[in-house]
């Protein structure tokens, strides 16, 4: 906790501080960096290890004598090549992309509509409903998958990635609705009153006023939704088995681990490639994400 105390100092306006304080400030900054580096190392150990391993040959991975943290026998792109050319990795990738895009669209439509109605309008039972949505978040997916299997079967979607489009929203909708409720209710009341006087109906109000104003929140919810459906594990593990239907997480794990044989190089290469899309999206939309998440959550 000393780090926190020390680094709170720089809040002080630089123009008004004395020389000693300025020195303190510099020290605080140095200390900040020291601690940040420590945390960054902790956070980046596995990704770093993934990169190193994905570039090693199988023989080097198996040998114990060499330093596991370094590439001591040169590097090879063999694992990436095999992964892309000789496995179904690209199919998994495509399936995951389709599922994720659909889930994001469905989730956003459903939760924006519902959040607008729960956050800005009122109807009989809306309070209970809002609470209820939260409570559904408490139901673990390990409890749901067996009954869900029957529903999926009933719809003829067994072993099809479209089943994921159906079931993932149970993971995303509650949280996204919750964020959006918070966001919508933080928008000043005057806005809809003005619109109402202009004769706009509720749908117009939503699309012309609320959605543009709440865009950061919507982007935050979208990213959340994207990450969750990109990384979902339990449902696809239970519902998909054909290699042309599998998604990235399960596909990578199941096709590269055979009984007690692990293809570490390819596994790590797969993990890195699987992490790329969310990483890129975060890189571009992070500012919105941060603004959106907090506004939603604090108010909610």
């Amino acid at each position: 906790m000393t780090a926190v105390t020390a680094t709170s100092v720089p809040r002080v306006r630089a123009s008004r501080v004395q020389g000693s304080l300025q020195r303190g400030r510099r020290w605080a900054l140095v200390l900040s960096y020291v601690f940040l580096v420590i945390f960054a190392v902790f956070f980046l150990i596995p990704p770093y290890y993934m990169i190193v391993t994905s570039l090693k040959s199988n023989a080097e991975v198996a040998h114990l004598s060499s330093n596991p943290w370094l590439l001591s026998q040169g590097f090879t792109f063999e694992h990436f090549r095999t992964l892309l050319k000789e496995t179904d990795f690209l199919i998994y990738f495509k399936n995951t992309a389709i599922v994720t895009v659909c889930v994001v669209v469905i989730t956003m439509v459903v939760s924006v509509l519902a959040a607008f109605s729960l956050g800005r309008m009122k109807f009989w039972g809306s309070g209970i409903l809002a609470t209820g949505i939260f409570l559904t978040y408490l139901v673990p997916d390990t409890l749901l998958f067996i009954p869900l299997f029957q529903i999926v079967r009933g719809l003829g979607l067994l072993n099809s990635y479209w089943a994921m489009v159906l079931v993932y929203p149970t993971l995303t909708v509650p949280f996204c609705t919750w964020i959006m409720i918070g966001y919508f209710s933080s928008i000043p009341k005057e806005l809809d009153e003005a619109a109402m006087i202009d004769g706009a109906n509720h749908m117009q109000m939503l699309t012309r006023i609320f959605i543009p104003v709440a865009l950061p929140g919507i982007i935050a919810a979208t990213i959340f939704c994207f990450t969750v459906s990109w990384a979902a594990f339990v449902y696809p593990m239970a519902f998909l088995y054909s290699s042309d239907q599998l998604v990235l997480t399960v596909g990578t794990v199941t096709s590269l681990i055979r009984a007690d044989v692990y293809q570490w190089g390819m596994l790590m290469a797969g993990a890195l490639l699987a992490a790329a899309p969310p990483l890129i999206i975060y890189a571009f939309l992070m500012d919105y994400y941060i603004a959106g998440l907090t506004a939603g959550a604090t108010k909610g």
Partner: protein, 454 residues
């Protein structure tokens, strides 16, 4: 409602499902003889880890399909993360899915109520090929009904796989001499020296030399299988046929005391090993012996050939009550809700023939072990190398018998004590947790009582 057989259990089950307002099980079309011409059959089979092994099985199934004009569709489902069991559980629960599923270890016991009896198929196979493994019978013949057909693919035993160079050098034991690659050259006087006591004394020497044996003590099947084999050779009975708990016995105490000494010369990480732990241990060159099918050896062949060419697969040590090796067969089950049962049975008959088995064993480089002793003479085990004969003794030879953890208890009780890894948890509590022997046995008794609840 579905098929011809309709038991009271089925009735209860379907009523239970119906009351839960589930969409009723689809009506199965009554089978008309010859109707599987142009029919369809879908299979969910275990995804073999040996590259190319799946292809041979696919080829066999397609051969049959072409002959019988049936469209065969195969999904290979990995056992990684128990995905195959997850799928089977969901299919059994929803009463829909593949026609044939392959089931590992206890899954026939778990799902036998949802399976079509296959007495005719297995009966004929036994007539053709002689006696079947008692372990397979214990696992798949429930109340006198065969609920699954033992497979070749994926079935295995877990004997010792040792570095004969290290044994010779550090323990003065010539394993190739005791277990030569020809059963007719086995000499009782020699094989009798390979006992658990010898195993311990050599393990101690190898430990001192810096090459400990690696015996898993986690909660997965490799660990449970070897501990159970040791228990069996010491005469330990956990629960007997009459569902009496018999764990509190001098035999159990002797076995646990022995294990305390043995575990002391294992690396400490064995308590964390999953089924791949011992493989990596051997492949890395650090370990002198493991108890595993030849998968470790064959990966070593790719990743560390120096180790592979010094590996020798051979029988388990002998205990006071005999020499036992853990066997883990797989089975094909036909779901009772399958739409094409006669076709399914016919396919199973075809892929269980001795010739089919021979091709499958060859495709797996000898990893797969059929449940018929009369199949143990396949060429593959004699020819696979390096070194020549390294997996010859993988099929139980000489006086080695196969065993299954939990036998002779009621199968559903044994299934729980196996899956919840009672034997290894007991051992770990005693050897790693340093709990008192009496407390460990008392704890085990409590657990067993719980498993007996039906």
């Amino acid at each position: 409602m579905k098929g011809s057989k309709f038991t009271r259990r089925d009735l209860l089950k379907s009523t239970a499902l119906a009351t839960a307002s589930v969409v009723g099980a689809p009506l199965a079309a009554p089978y008309v003889h010859g109707a599987y011409a142009a029919g369809k059959l879908s299979l969910g089979l275990w995804d073999h880890w040996v590259p190319g092994a799946n292809d041979t099985l696919t080829k066999l199934c397609n051969e049959w399909g072409e002959k019988n004009k049936v469209e065969v569709h195969i999904d290979y489902i990995t056992s990684q993360g128990e995905k195959d069991k997850l799928t089977a559980a969901a299919e059994a629960q929803a009463r829909t899915g593949h026609d044939i599923m392959s089931h590992r270890d206890w899954n026939i016991v778990v799902h036998h109520q949802a399976m079509e009896p296959v007495n005719d198929v297995v009966g004929d196979l036994i007539k053709q090929n002689g006696p079947i493994s008692p372990v397979a019978e214990y696992l798949a013949n429930i109340d006198g009904q065969w609920a699954g057909v033992p497979t070749t693919v994926g079935s295995q035993v877990k004997p010792c796989c040792s570095r004969f160079d290290l044994y010779k050098q550090h323990a003065g034991i010539d394993l190739q001499d005791i277990f030569p690659n020809d059963e007719s050259k086995y000499v009782k006087a020699k094989t009798d020296t390979w006992t658990w006591d010898t195993y311990l004394s050599s393990a101690e020497k190898l430990f001192k030399a810096g090459y400990p044996v690696g015996l898993p003590m986690g909660q997965t099947s490799d660990a449970v299988d070897w501990v159970a084999a040791l228990f069996k050779s010491y005469g330990v009975v956990m629960v007997d046929e009459k569902s009496d708990i018999r764990i509190n016995s001098p035999e159990t105490r002797t076995a646990l005391e022995y294990l305390k000494k043995l575990m002391a010369v294992n690396p400490p990480e064995v308590y964390a090993w999953d089924d791949a732990g011992n493989n990596r241990w051997l492949i890395s060159g650090k370990g002198s012996s493991i108890m595993n099918p030849p998968s470790a050896w064959s990966v070593a062949k790719r990743d560390n050939p120096e180790v592979a060419k010094n590996c020798w697969t051979h029988a388990m040590p002998m205990g006071p009550k005999g020499r036992f090796v853990g066997q883990l067969p797989q089975f094909y089950g036909v779901w009772s809700f399958s739409q094409n049962k006669p076709a399914a049975k016919d396919l199973l008959r075809y892929i269980s023939q001795k010739d089919s088995a021979r091709r499958l064993v060859a495709a797996s480089n000898g990893y797969d072990l059929p449940s018929f002793k009369s199949f143990y003479d396949f060429e593959t085990w004699k020819t696979v190398e390096p070194p020549v004969g390294t997996v010859y003794s993988y099929p139980p030879r000489g006086d080695e018998q196969t065993s299954m953890c939990g036998a002779p208890a009621r199968p559903d009780v044994a299934a729980q004590l196996y899956n919840q890894a009672l034997p290894t948890v007991m051992v770990s509590k005693f050897t790693q947790g340093n709990e008192k022997l009496d407390d460990v046995i008392k704890w085990a008794e409590g657990e067993l009582e719980g498993y007996l609840r039906s």
